[in-house]
């Protein structure tokens, strides 16, 4: 979205004028609102998980083996990617587009690595989402998170493409800020998921 949030009209003077509002850019406001709604979506999923956990005394059920090692590595990957994303944002705030491109590329790779790693993790698990409530909950939660990461990777790719096309400057990079906010959000959700599934169990 490039909609520059300005009300372009003529006022009493008859002069066309652009009233750029101070404060956060409209695109970013949109992304933050979107993140709020996504938070509620994941809250629903977590509610379902904890409801299941509370109603099943044997939790995780016998015979469910997770792979904490892979998950921990994935956690490190995703947290790192948040850092690299933020470095990219700081670069473009300084007007350093080359820095943005570099950090975006690294973030993109880390994100892709997370998705690949999670798919690998799935392939090693010996339960599926059809093996009872634990499998259903595990795969639904991690699956929706993974889908969001994938969406984030696509958005990162779009940003990288636009940066390569010469878009973004110190003043105009709202889209990058928006994608960055979303990426951090996805990261936070993973941290909650990781604590829930692997630490709290």
């Amino acid at each position: 979205m490039t909609a520059e949030a300005t009300s372009l009209r003529r006022d009493g003077t008859g002069e066309p004028s652009v009233h750029a509002r101070r404060g956060i850019d409209t695109t970013i406001v949109g992304v933050l609102l979107f993140i709020a709604s996504e938070t509620m979506f994941f809250s629903g999923l977590f509610a379902a998980y904890f409801n299941a956990r509370a109603t099943h005394p044997d939790w995780p059920p016998q015979g469910i083996e997770l792979e904490p090692l892979i998950a921990s590595i994935l956690t490190i990957v995703l947290v790192t990617s948040s850092v690299t994303m933020q470095l990219g944002v700081r670069a473009i705030r300084r007007g350093d587009r080359a820095g943005l491109q570099r950090w975006l590329a690294i973030t993109l790779l880390l994100g892709a690595a997370f998705v690949a790693g999670q798919l690998y993790d799935y392939s090693t698990l010996d339960f599926s989402w059809q093996s009872g409530i634990y499998g259903a909950a595990f795969f639904t939660l991690t699956g929706f998170h993974g889908a969001h990461v994938t969406g984030g990777v696509i958005a990162l790719a779009a940003m990288l493409f636009r940066a390569n096309e010469g878009h973004f400057s110190a003043r105009h990079h709202a889209a990058v800020e928006g994608v960055s906010a979303y990426w951090h959000f996805v990261d936070v959700i993973w941290l909650l998921l990781f604590s829930t599934l692997y630490v709290l169990r």
Binding site: R9, G12, H19, A36, G44, T140
Partner: protein, 556 residues
């Protein structure tokens, strides 16, 4: 006093089909919403007539039970998700940018997407009829709706049709969430200079609170729908069907966590419309603007703490908490009622059709609201929950409330939209028939509820005492149908008539939409009056009064 600027754009060239399909103009999108919602209103209404015909007498076999069950499911789903919500979004789409002095919505293309998702969702929901039906009620309670999951067979009307219903609602959910983001960003970011938060027209305030509710409530419904879909198709009911280890009550919590805010999503903008119409036709400012804003916010907050009043009879919720907060909603709603009455008090009331519908709202929403307040008393709810008392309550608030306000809004803003007035004479007949029909159709349902008639029953036997009141209710339903027909006639007659240009400010209004031409140009405003209060257009018309009010305000 009214500036009779003749609209140069009033004699527009005819817009092409392609333009309607690709438009990102909030005014056109608003009109698209209106048309699609009204079509769905008629379709949903026709199913209601099917319901009412079947119930007109005991032991009827006009429609078989499976079809009956699909009728009330799709009737409820249509009226809520394809009529009430979108038509309010449509009015808000047209009005909000104008009222805040903006050129368009914050994200015009996303706005178009929001709209086009509505017919897509509607198509999915209606295709359920061709795929075995969806006979689960608009509330879709599990495990009935998990259907064949877990190796059980719960009967017909629970097959692929239910999957289509789920998909349709998910699509409509996306539409609403995107719409919510758009409205909120618009209201936060697109206000004209001088349009401070506490100068926003009340309608904009109600849209602001409504869209916040949508933003936080609808995603949870999406989650619930996703779980239901997964359960039906993949896990055999692991989340929601106790036969396979799931929880039957989880769905109800998630559904009503969304569902209760949902009902305020359908009433708050309606209250906003009333708060525009009543002051204009009383020629007074809204009494207690700040209290009204506060009450709106209070209702919005309370909306998230009362969902389990739909689950009193499950025996599985903490009753005092939910009962108390439910009753508490009567207080802010009462503030609004008394503000409206005080606005009319010592005013100069003009009974144009918009005002008549607003008065209908006050008279009938009150009945529905008091029904609701009684339902908050848990032991009484034990008796009448899942009976026709609840059916009566929901139609008084949704028809007596939302639909009356929607018609008030349509008659009020129609000249701004199309540069023509709807016919006042037909309009008054429309109003009269609606008012009679609604009461004849829905008042007897209270009594049926007290007599113990459960809702969602495909027929009843002659040894019950329910037949006469049901017949009365059916007669009322057909009266409403007649009134809807009159409305359609009104629209047709209005467009057939030669164009007489409408002035900018035909009703002697207060807010910014009346500062531009009727209809407005694509960029909305050629000039804006200065904005120093919530009534900029009024201030411009009556500068002496504006001065005095401003100095009084400063003195306070």
């Amino acid at each position: 006093m009214t500036t009779a600027t003749l609209a140069p754009v009033a004699v527009r060239t005819r817009t092409s089909w392609l333009e309607w399909l690709t438009t990102t103009d909030h005014k056109k999108i608003g009109q698209l919403y209106l048309v699609s919602s009204l079509v769905f209103f008629v379709i949903g209404g026709i199913q209601a007539l099917g319901i009412r015909s079947q119930l007109a007498a005991p032991d009827m076999t006009l429609v078989d039970p499976e079809t009956y069950n699909e009728f009330f499911t799709i009737h409820g789903t249509t009226m809520i998700f394809l009529f009430a919500m979108p038509i309010l979004s449509g009015l808000a789409n047209f009005v909000v940018p104008l009222q805040i002095g903006a050129i368009d919505m914050a994200f015009p293309r996303i706005n178009a997407l929001s709209f086009w998702l509505v017919p897509v969702g509607g198509l999915l929901i209606y295709s359920s009829y061709a795929a075995g039906g969806a006979a689960i009620g608009w509330t879709g309670y599990v495990p009935l709706s998990t259907g064949g999951a877990g190796g059980q067979n719960f009967g017909p009307g629970l097959g692929t049709g239910v999957d289509l219903w789920i998909m349709g609602l998910t699509v409509l959910g996306f539409s609403s969430i995107l719409g919510a983001i758009n409205f909120l960003a618009t209201i936060f970011r697109m206000r004209a200079p001088g349009m401070r938060m506490f100068r926003l027209p009340i309608f904009v305030w109600t849209v602001l609170v409504t869209q916040s509710l949508a933003l936080f409530a609808i995603p949870v419904f999406t989650t619930a729908l996703v779980l239901l879909f997964i359960d039906r198709n993949f896990t055999g009911g692991a989340f929601l069907n106790p036969a396979n280890g799931g929880s039957a009550i989880l769905w109800q919590h998630m559904f009503w966590f969304f569902g209760h805010p949902e009902v305020y999503i359908m009433i708050l903008p309606a209250m906003g419309i009333i708060s525009e119409v009543v002051p204009v036709f009383s020629r007074k400012p809204l009494f207690g603007y700040h209290a009204f804003v506060g009450a709106t916010i209070a209702i919005g907050l309370l909306a998230f703490g009362v969902w389990a009043h739909h689950m009193f009879a499950t025996g599985l919720v903490y009753l005092p908490f939910f009962s108390f907060l439910t009753g508490a909603i009567g207080v802010p709603t009462g503030i609004k009622f008394f503000n409206w009455l005080a606005t009319m008090w010592r005013g100069k009331l003009r009974f144009s059709t918009p005002m008549l519908f607003a008065i209908g709202f006050l008279a009938f929403f009150l009945i529905g609201g008091l029904d609701g307040a009684l339902l908050a008393a848990v032991p009484f709810d034990y008796d009448v929950t899942d009976t026709y008392w609840v059916v009566s309550h929901l139609h008084y608030v949704l028809f007596g409330g939302t639909v009356f306000a929607v018609f008030a809004g349509i008659y009020y803003w129609f000249p701004k939209m199309y540069g023509r007035f709807l016919d006042e004479r037909i309009g008054k007949w429309h109003w009269l028939l609606t008012a009679i029909g609604v009461n004849v159709a829905f008042f007897p349902q209270h009594l049926l509820g007290l007599e113990g008639m459960p809702r969602r029953i495909a027929t009843y036997s002659a040894d019950t005492p329910w037949a006469p009141l049901n017949l009365l209710s059916t007669i009322g339903a057909f009266t409403i149908a007649l009134s809807v027909l009159l409305f359609v006639v009104n629209v047709v007659v209005t467009f057939r008539r030669p164009l007489e240009p409408v002035p900018d400010d035909p009703w002697d209004g207060n807010t910014l939409e009346w500062a531009t031409t009727s209809p407005p140009p694509p960029h909305n405003f050629d000039r804006l009056p200065p904005i120093r209060s919530s009534r900029p257009v009024f201030d411009e018309k009556y500068p002496e009064l504006a001065e005095r009010a401003a100095s009084a305000g400063a003195a306070r």
